[in-house]
Amino acid sequence: MTEIRIIVCAKQIPDPEAPLSDVSVDAEKMEVIVDAPQVISPFDENALEVAVRLKEEAGGKISVLSLGKKVSDTVLRKTLAAGADELILLEDDNFENLDSHSTAAALAGAIRKIGDYDLVLTGRQAGDWDSGQVGLILGEMLALPCISLARDISIEDGNVLVKKNIPEGYERVKAQMPALITVSNEVGELRYISRTKMLKMMRGARSIPSWSAEDLGVTPEALQQMGITALSSPPDMGRDCELLEGSPDEQAEKLAEVFKTLR
């Protein structure tokens, strides 16, 4: 089996599972402030997982790209611990709050610079802005076959075979590589990484390359921000929760009574 070269695009975001109280909106500065640890966007982790599985089967190399004004390699070194071979940070002051088109343009620059690849994988959408566009725009820019919402990916004779989600179930599709695929969570969560392995990777002396817009051949004029004109808090979703107290048996009884009143 021929070795496979995979590029995974992974975005660093504030933990989307953070408690609601840790999230606030600064309407004046038009910023969402999340007081939570930075993590890798969940669907991008799914994409990395499927990349590692493909590499385990065929052998090859995985490069992870992560783009932002400032990207934390301590968050992203997890990708190396999980099985990626190379992590490249795409960092530039001009990479702040980019729109999907500009983000894709910068990623396309990095992918052209890498040059040799069979698959580009992204998550189906990022866990902060939930726009769901970068992957497919990137595929268009690189003139690749584009397949969205993958739940299973396999390689056969230079082709990629994908089961993709469709409203009535799934569709089996086939495309020539190189191809772009956006990955959905049905592929499964990123494998467990032991603490020892993680610490080793964190403490590792290995230097992580960082490429600027100039390195990618992207001019600042080609980069546009998202164009936010207003930001507000959503309507309050909170309710007064009545906690049912007592022993488990008593709690169950009270809960059964609740259901009775709702019938």
Partner: protein, 329 residues
Amino acid sequence: MSDVLILGEVKEGSLDLKTLELLGAGKKLAGELGGEFSLLLMGDSVSGMADEALPYGPAKVYKLEHHLLQGFKTDLWLACLEQACREINPKVLLMSHSFLGMELGPRLACRLNTRLTTDCIDLSIDPEDGLLLRTKPVSGGNAISVFKCPGEPQLATVRGKVFAAAESGDANGEIVDIKAKIDESMIKVESLEIVREEIVALDKADVVVSGGAGLGEEDGFELLEELREALSKSFANVMIGCSRVAVDKGWISSDHQVGLTGTMISPDIYVAVGISGAIQHLVGMVHAKKIIAINTDPGCNMFKVADYGVVEDYEEIIPALIEKLEELS
């Protein structure tokens, strides 16, 4: 030229309800622009739908028919949509925030060098410059943002159930044919097979019993299934839901997933078991009439949106609850 163009969708041989809502939104925006709105229908046979659409008031119904548009091959549909946009040259193009809209929208935006805003919940025209103001929940729903972007057409996918459907009236519009310029060589992704699966219709549920990471193991869903059966004796349409994490772990299939990337639901009762409540999940169920949370973590988000809460291990509560429900029924 049409000022506002709607990409129509067909469901079970008729115009999709979401398309009627888009026609409602299109009429409003055309009014703000002082122009007219039109509908684009694509497919292998859409003539019947074109006649059906006229009473909803579009100035034109553009009809792009080709035998290769049977089924949905993204590459061909995209080529047709791009061609139609170049010929019609609309100021604004609206699509449903649906499978179709999200397959086509981002790639179309790239090809036309314009910017798309997805999953909009409100739209209006800025009277200053005639650009589209696009309101969209961001950060999973923790904030509502308004975007304004350059480019033409102004492009948005629109969430269902936020605009009222257009009302039927006099049909004064005309039907215009567009000749599709596509051939099989444009297909880069080949379809091998469509596998239809039995999909749980969560949006039709009256009661949803839903499980998440807090179940700890796949077997947890067996207990939820027993609760589902017990509740079915008193309630209609009781179904099993889940969080994204439960799908990631391979415990349950994704048609059960509730939330932003699953199904958005508003049942009479939502029972959240072992779901801490990531915002992306909450926005999908927070409009349930009554919410019941069972979780061992009293600080979790789910208790903040619930009407009734039980802070206890679900393995203790649910068997006891099933017993009590039997006694009551």
